[in-house]
Symmetry: C2
Subunit: 116 residues, 2 copies
DNA sequence: GTACTATATCGATGAATGTCAATATAAGCA
DNA sequence: TGCTTATATTGACATTCATCGATATAGTAC
């Protein structure tokens, strides 16, 4: 159960052929939908975007709260969703928690959507 | 208003740079999230997959209901969501409604996620 | 130890959503 | 006209979810 939440995107990435290649099984559809749902929120899309564009390609919660215009608990919640989905990583250094893009995560996801 | 629902994906496609290229505006995040939400459902992912894999790359509701295991009104609902998102097209021929992938729709979406 | 800061978690609430049964619409055919 | 089939729409219900305020945890400095 712990593994399911720590390695979901990697799993999705290798789970199935591109969407339009062959019919998706119910099980794989469930897994892919979970990952897409993690991204399918305006606040989370902006978080991913802001983290990627930030200096050193990492950002702490304090960097993100104000420009996002949402409360700290809400931002922490969204970041957790993205980490659980395998899109971001979290590293705690001192008092701060730094978030980074998981290399290749978005690309793998994109490759599942592509038709060619 | 009618245009907003008939051309949303095209709009999204041309709206913004890839997610990780520059920080997404609140407005563009909203639009991209809407499109991703349309895909972020297991039933709809399977519908897209089944339509693409079907003979002649098109399928009517009656082809999809039974393999999906959902009721006809539910399937019609999901298909409408996908059409409104610009991912599928609907063409009525006689009694039947045929659904097809919008060429390039998924690819455009994928190109917004890619980091390279 | 206390005080302060950064972050995470909890609990509640309102909004959005997936599903179904029932009904409506529309097209084809006797 | 009526009958049948395919699809869409409506209304209801249960569930999920985004957000917030309050609180808990953890780390740093004094």
């Amino acid at each position: 159960m712990a593994l399911v939440t720590t390695l979901p995107l990697t799993d999705v990435t290798e789970c199935c052929a591109p969407l339009t290649r062959e019919t998706l099984s119910a099980h794989n559809a469930e897994k892919l939908a979970k990952t897409l749902k993690a991204l399918a929120d305006p606040a989370r899309l902006r978080l991913v975007s802001m983290v990627a564009a930030h200096d050193d390609a990492e950002a702490c919660v304090c960097d993100l709260t104000e420009p996002l215009g949402l409360g700290q608990p809400t931002v922490s919640h969204h970041l957790k969703v993205l980490v659980d989905a395998g899109i971001l990583t979290r590293e705690k250094r001192g008092t701060w928690a730094y978030y980074r893009l998981v290399p290749g995560a978005l690309d793998s996801l994109a490759s599942l959507l592509v038709t060619a």
